[in-house]
Amino acid sequence: MINPILASSARQRMRSVRTPILVTLYGLLLLAFVYFTSFNAFGQPTFTIGELRRSVEGYVYLLIVQFGLLVLVAPAMMAGSIAGERERQTLDLLHVTNVNSLSIVVGKLMESFGFLCLLIVSSFPMMGLILLTGGVDLLQLLTGVLFLLLVALAALSVGLAASVFLRRTVAATVVAYLIIFAIGAITVAPIFYDVQRIGKIYTTARDANHIITTIEGYTPISFVINPVLGLLALIVDQTKLLHTTIGQFSHTLNVTFEYLPFGRYVIYNMIFLAGASALLVLVSALRLRYRKADRPRLRRDKR
């Protein structure tokens, strides 16, 4: 049987006029963005092979823009999930039905996730254009989509956790965003250490006159735990772009670029995202289960 919270929330969302408006705006936004950056070249009577390359750029832009939108939108979507039920005084009614806390949080999460999937799927036509001109194959495209989905899931989970731990939607929203930014900052910090280690491996090998194909000895932590770096790794792996951009930030990375197994980093990153989401969901469920009663509002006459 379908999770009742999922079914009901989905029904409520689909009845709102905002939903089709959002989906339409999202699609139009991506379409406009991609057209004006990359695809308008194809409207000309002739174009060069070099210009074909622009469709790959279009794909990259789509990944980056959607990543940004998901990370910005997801926490707010979930911040009202449990805190809102509390505020609307419907949470108690759920508890007395014996539906277990895990079902409640998973139902809420899956409903929002479903909607984000809908949005991502609505970007397929634009993303698929790249398959016409080459540069990225279908499997890579699907991997890109999977990465976006996992980022969405993780961002939603943060919102969910905030909603469970905080009593009010407004507070949960703020805290969710703070956590996201904090996570971003904390998970990028190890990069200095990572770069050092990689540099050392490289110079040791080079000084010993070995022929270097891949730098395998060390997996940079920051690329595994930071979603933005994960995105960059994905782009590099699939399109071979961004060498100069990344190279500008770090001489070491510039030099070792060819040898770093970015594809592997992407896989680890996705596993980490999935694991982090699962952990947040479990923590939320446990918290919801063991803190059923709110602190009472010692109100006198509310009426």
Binding site: M1, P4, I5, A7, S8, R11, Q12, R15, S16, R88, Q89, T90, D92, L93, L94, H95, V96, T97, N98, V99, K292, A293, R295, P296, L298, R300, D301, K302, R303
Partner: protein, 311 residues
């Protein structure tokens, strides 16, 4: 049977419930009365497994509430004093949602929903969105939701609050049907006259402590000795008649506190058995044009004011 023993609850340093003990038998419609902040909602939330008691136990049909919450929830239905509804859901979908939460399958749900809507008189609102229903209708719908799993005990926290008299009358009707169905109902309210009319037994609490618990007859018997009798005489020539009535009454033993309420209305206290009251009535009607003679029914409001403290 619902049994509370020494139920105590602290909120920080504040003692909300002070060793509350009471018993509610099967099939009783039990009223729960007390001023705001007395601890009614706290008690009900503990029974609904939403709060854990600091001390003491509550047992429903032998099952302890704090130790077996999942089992208790299958046996009881709860309607809080303040609750929200979901927007963009129709009345039947609202019930459907909760029915799914309780784990009922499709066929069962479809059958159940229509029956419940009929019970609470909302059949014609089946396809209406819940957020546009009137307050009374929302409360009836919430009551229907509490009945989905056919619980033997219902815990209703001010189910008629904010409802107009007609809506309250409808609610009373529904509660009577529930009693006829054999359900045990614990209902808290401020509308005291209605409670005393409807309920088999009552519990009065104040500042977390039990003041009275027992049948309505017990309470009435306890109090009615103090209920005054009212005597109304025909208005014509009433000054003389009134004087005569007062003289007559003064001579009867057991009468005290004679007072004139209106131009032709007297009230007095009479300590006497029913036979003596009948004799008194006979004597008065023989000599005076008596229009009305009755003993005030127990005024639960007065009782309430007397037994509870001023804040």
């Amino acid at each position: 049977m619902l049994q509370l023993e020494g139920l105590t609850r602290y909120y920080g340093h504040f003692l909300a419930l002070d060793h509350l003990s009471m018993t509610i038998g099967d099939g009783e419609l039990h009223g729960f009365v007390g001023p705001n902040g007395a601890g009614k909602t706290t008690t009900m939330k503990i029974l609904a497994t939403l709060l854990r008691p600091s001390e003491g136990t509550a047992t429903l049909n032998g099952v302890e509430v704090s130790k077996n919450p999942r089992q208790i929830r299958r046996m009881m239905g709860y309607m809080p004093d303040f609750f929200g509804v979901y927007d963009k859901l129709k009345a039947w979908e609202y019930l459907d949602f909760y029915a799914r939460c309780y784990g009922f399958g499709y066929q069962e749900r479809m059958r159940m929903i229509d029956n419940l809507l009929e019970l609470v008189n909302l059949q014609d609102k089946r396809e209406s969105y819940v957020d546009v229903l009137s307050r009374g209708m929302k409360q009836r719908l919430c009551l229907a939701r509490a009945l989905i799993h056919d619980p033997s005990l219902l815990i209703l926290d001010e189910p008629a609050s904010g409802m107009d008299p007609r809506a309250r009358a409808e609610m009373k009707q529904i509660l009577r049907s529930l009693k006829d169905m054999g359900k045990t109902v614990l209902i808290s309210s401020h509308i005291l006259p209605e409670l005393s009319e409807m309920c088999d037994s009552l519990t009065i609490i104040d500042h977390g402590r039990l003041v009275f618990s027992g049948s309505v007859q017990d309470l009435a018997g306890h109090m009615s000795g103090r209920a005054p009798i009212r005597l109304r005489l025909l208005e014509k020539d009433n000054a003389a008649h009134l004087e005569q009535a007062v003289q007559l009454l003064k001579q009867v033993p057991g009468i005290s506190t004679i007072s004139q309420e209106e131009q032709n209305l007297l009230s007095f206290q009479f300590e006497g058995a029913d036979e003596e009251v009948a004799d008194l009535l006979g004597m008065l009607t023989a000599q005076l044009p008596v229009l009305d003679f009755h003993r005030q029914p127990m005024n639960l409001e007065k009782v309430f004011m007397e037994v509870t403290q001023d804040d």
